[in-house]
Symmetry: C2
DNA sequence: TGTCAGTTTGGCAGTCTCTGCCATATTGAC
DNA sequence: GTCAATATGGCAGAGACTGCCAAACTGACA
């Protein structure tokens, strides 16, 4: 409620367009639906659509509810316990996506297309890279070398974080999400133990 | 030389187009150069360009010399020593890119645009995901769970492998590439030791 | 050498994504 | 109620990409 009126209106418009687009995608398929159709169905001009989302794939990377912003990561990050940090972070996300999830739950509608449509996938990966780079900056600020920070950030952000979300989704979202992170962290630790 | 004539001609055409495109990119910038211009400069029709590369970004993901194919990974993979496997794999790549590198050395010309141009970056990430998925399949075939395989593959492929290449390139390619992998693996091991 | 099937290439028309520009409408403050 | 800031819409156009068909080319075989 601290958000000014303008921003709130914009946000509700964004959500409405996303929902409309997902409806169309579910019915006709991602590639078959044009931006013009989405805009028309949502009652805005195509020009406005592009102002909001930048691109068709922007539908999957723009929603602030669907992605975790970096400030939040910073709050949960302990450089000396990275696995624990990710466990806490994902647990938080899981709570938000619980049974009482409002719009947050809807955000997962798009995951199907992230998995199935290469252009969407590419866009989401580019967005993930943003997060990974931010995390790497945090790690470097704590004394890690450039190489260590880059590699660690990407391994945990792409591997542990996104990998867990993905597998959780593929399994139908029935098992608790934190379990996947636990398993992911164990696998990562086991893989490195031998070398 | 085992390659049939047709395939060899095609490959030399591909290399010629890539070289021509990189020249144009270096001179005018990636976004400023159109596919039509590349095709014209290389002496082929735009239609043929698209048949070869599929897209403008395909210039960076098509060259077989620039990417490591999965069969090769399979040969070097030991599930019980994943860090060692990657160390060996990257050492091989480094040897290929040595001072005597012919076309292979040229392949690195594109890395600049992979780092700087978001569309190129997205395309390369999508291609990396292919490799990661293939690696995950290999790991699952050796008894890993789906989650462990997915997470491990992505952490090493995106993090250790690509992260090392990237940092090596950013540092001017003066230090030996395998050193970066060693450092990356150590960082990964250290990060997980505490959890 | 000449023929012929299979493959590769080029040209064309058209769709879709995305952007710059300017006019119009809406908003929120005073 | 007026005004400046901001959001929206419409338009024109560039560039990426595809389907389609005709022309050129390749390599084998008679």
């Amino acid at each position: 409620m601290a958000m000014p009126l303008r921003a709130r209106n914009r946000q509700s418009a964004v959500h409405h367009i996303i929902d409309t687009a997902m409806d169309l995608f579910d019915e006709h398929g991602y590639q078959q639906v044009t931006v013009d159709q989405i805009a028309a169905a949502a009652g805005v001009s195509p020009r406005t659509f592009y102002r909001y989302f930048g691109s068709k794939e922007g539908l999957f990377t723009t929603d602030p509810y669907a992605s975790t912003d970096l400030a939040e990561v910073g709050r949960y990050l302990d450089v000396h316990d990275i696995p624990g940090s990710f466990q806490r972070l994902v647990t938080l996300i899981a709570e938000r996506s619980g049974p009482d999830a409002g719009r947050t739950g809807q955000a997962w509608r798009g995951m199907r297309y992230v998995l199935e449509e290469p252009p969407v996938r590419a866009a989401v990966y580019a967005a993930l890279e943003e997060g990974s780079r931010g995390l790497a900056d945090l790690l470097r600020a704590e004394g890690m070398t450039a190489t260590a920070a880059r590699v660690t950030a990407r391994a945990y952000w792409f591997g542990v974080y996104f990998g867990s979300l993905e597998q959780w989704h593929l399994d139908g979202r029935v098992r608790p999400l934190p379990d996947y992170v636990t398993e992911a962290l164990a696998a990562l630790r086991a893989s490195g133990a031998t070398g």
